[in-house]
Amino acid sequence: MSAITVGHPVALRRPIYGWALHDGFVVARRNLIQTLRVPELLFFSLVQPVIFVLLFAYVFGGAIPIPGDGASSADAANAYRQYLMPGIFGQTVAFAAAASTVGLAEDMSRGIIDRFRALPMSPSAVLLGRTFADAVRQILVLTVLSITGLLVGWRINNGLFSALLAYALLLFFAYTVAWVGAWIGLSVPNPETANTAGLVWLFPLTFLSNAFVPISSMPDWLQPIAAYNPISTLVLATRELFGNPTGIQPHYWSLDHAALYTLISCAVLIGIFAPLAVRKYRNATAR
């Protein structure tokens, strides 16, 4: 090992978008490289939503009638597939939060977090990078899901521009829940707990919605809960943008302004959970 002879370090000038984004991007790049290095994990994270599509389309599909759209479609099962796909999209991006939970809990349990903390980097970078990478990964997941959907009879009926808006809304939602997942990941004591804690809240959240069944089919007391569940409005807005059947909607402000309500929900959730998560990360530093 020869002696080390290097010039003095040259400091980078502060980018106009600030160090937090710069550092967040560096960490996101690391997280995305990790994804590519473990293709098995990526593969199985794609298989799960595909299985959901097939299960719901062929097993449950015929048993769940979509009110109001039976007439417009010759085949009730086909109508359900049209109805189902945005639900699967919404459920899938919501479950992306679990990846953030587990990923952060794993980072926190490893030595590398000590190095991150001993660097003069932005304290929010590890979280920004994690949430951003987890949202970016959803692009691939949504692509595979869309192809599966097209194969089982789902169609985009409203033109490309609306479809792109639908995908953008889905990705923004994925980014939002990633912050919730990140906060959970920082709150659990170890990665094993994160595996469970990252998932439990997602089941009621996604099933208490219009993702798989119309809200009008739920008991009266449950309908407002489902109506104000951001997953419902996300899925409804996506159905509208794709030109897929929505079923008959009960009248709630959230459902009447589905896209707007979804955007507001995302902003509020990020506004709550991003500061909470960053504070948890900082306090973890101070421990």
């Binding site: 020869s2 490289i33 977090i113 421990r287």
Partner: protein, 330 residues
């Protein structure tokens, strides 16, 4: 600025729930010096390094690194230091080169500098061939070298090494010592912790012995050895029972408590080589059969024994605070 010590810590205490990991620890490291923090597991070495490298806040006391307060000016401290912990703090899935690039980028250095510096470090640390392989394919020694390289990306003035050779095979350990000596020759200030007395003796000019969270001795290796007096006699027997008998037989010859370890007994003596004659006579009188007898200068093991009443290696004597490594959550 330059006449300030690299590290100055006064009365640092840190508790983890009921456990007092540090209890009024003082430490000064002058610039360009290598100071070894020596102590058994659970003595508080790692806690001290974590406080000085801004990873942990002290419960009480005050510490400055490169003139900056480790609590109030943590970010300035982070610019000046490199840290290599007991476990390789690098990303398993990234390659060696990708790791160095990431840490250089997070240090806010220009891409050109990071690239040149990475190449240099990879070459210096014999990682050229493995540079484009994911770290999870590396051996333990390679990980440690990459970890140290990552700490050096910004040419820190002050380097904290927490048990840098724990778990390494003898060859890798020698390689690590060489690297550390090169860095010191380059003018880097090093604070290293170790439970290997030999390592402190080899690398550090100044040794701070700690136990139960505070300093119990301080000085050069020679000074510490002088502190416990002259030579030691060491007798090897066939078995442990023989060692017990030998210890009794030697009572009139030695000048302190004998230490019995398996089939060996050692004790401080005074009076030069003539002591050997007396010892052999005494052993012969009691008909103790010996396999070896020698007179030697004290080692740091002996220093530790006389200072703490237990051996540095006897790690199981005191329960370790259970959350030592995992202690950073929340």
């Amino acid at each position: 600025m330059s006449d300030q010590p690299a590290v100055r810590a006064e009365g640092i205490s840190r508790t983890f729930g009921e456990v007092k990991a540090l209890d009024g620890m003082d430490l000064v490291v002058q610039r360009g010096q290598v100071v070894g923090l020596l102590g058994p597991n659970g003595a508080g070495k790692t806690t001290m390094v974590r406080i000085l490298s801004t990873l942990l806040k002290p419960t009480a006391g005050h510490a400055e690194v490169a003139g900056f307060d480790v609590v109030k000016q943590a970010n300035q401290v982070r610019r000046m230091i490199g840290l290599t912990g007991q476990y390789a703090a690098v990303d398993e899935y990234l390659t060696g080169r990708e790791n160095l690039r990431m840490f250089g980028d997070l240090f806010h250095l220009t891409p050109g500098y990071v690239k040149a510096r990475s190449e240099e470090l990879l070459t210096s640390f014999d990682l050229d061939d493995a540079a484009d392989r994911p770290v999870r394919t590396y051996s333990g020694g390679m990980r440690r070298r990459l970890d140290l390289a990552a700490s050096l990306i910004a040419r820190p003035e002050i380097l904290f090494l927490d048990e840098p050779t724990t778990g390494l095979d003898p060859r890798s350990r020698l390689g690590m010592w060489q690297v550390i000596n090169d860095l010191v020759a380059d003018g880097t200030t090093v604070l290293l912790t170790t439970q290997y007395l030999e390592e402190a003796d080899q690398l550090a000019q100044d040794i701070v012995v700690i136990d139960h969270g505070h300093v119990i001795a301080h000085g050069s290796a020679e000074q510490l050895k002088d502190q416990i007096g002259g030579d030691r006699i060491e007798v090897t027997l066939h078995d442990a029972a023989g060692a017990e008998r030998a210890a009794r037989a030697l009572e009139s010859v030695i000048s302190g408590h004998p230490l019995i370890e398996d089939n060996k007994v050692s004790a401080p003596v005074s009076g030069g080589s003539m002591v050997l004659v007396g010892a052999i006579r005494a052993l012969d009188l009691e008909q103790v059969e010996i396999t070896d007898i020698m007179l030697r200068r004290p080692t740091l093991d002996d220093v530790f024994m006389s200072l703490t009443g237990h051996l540095a290696e006897s790690e199981t004597q005191r329960p370790e605070p259970t959350r030592r490594r995992g202690a950073r959550r929340r």
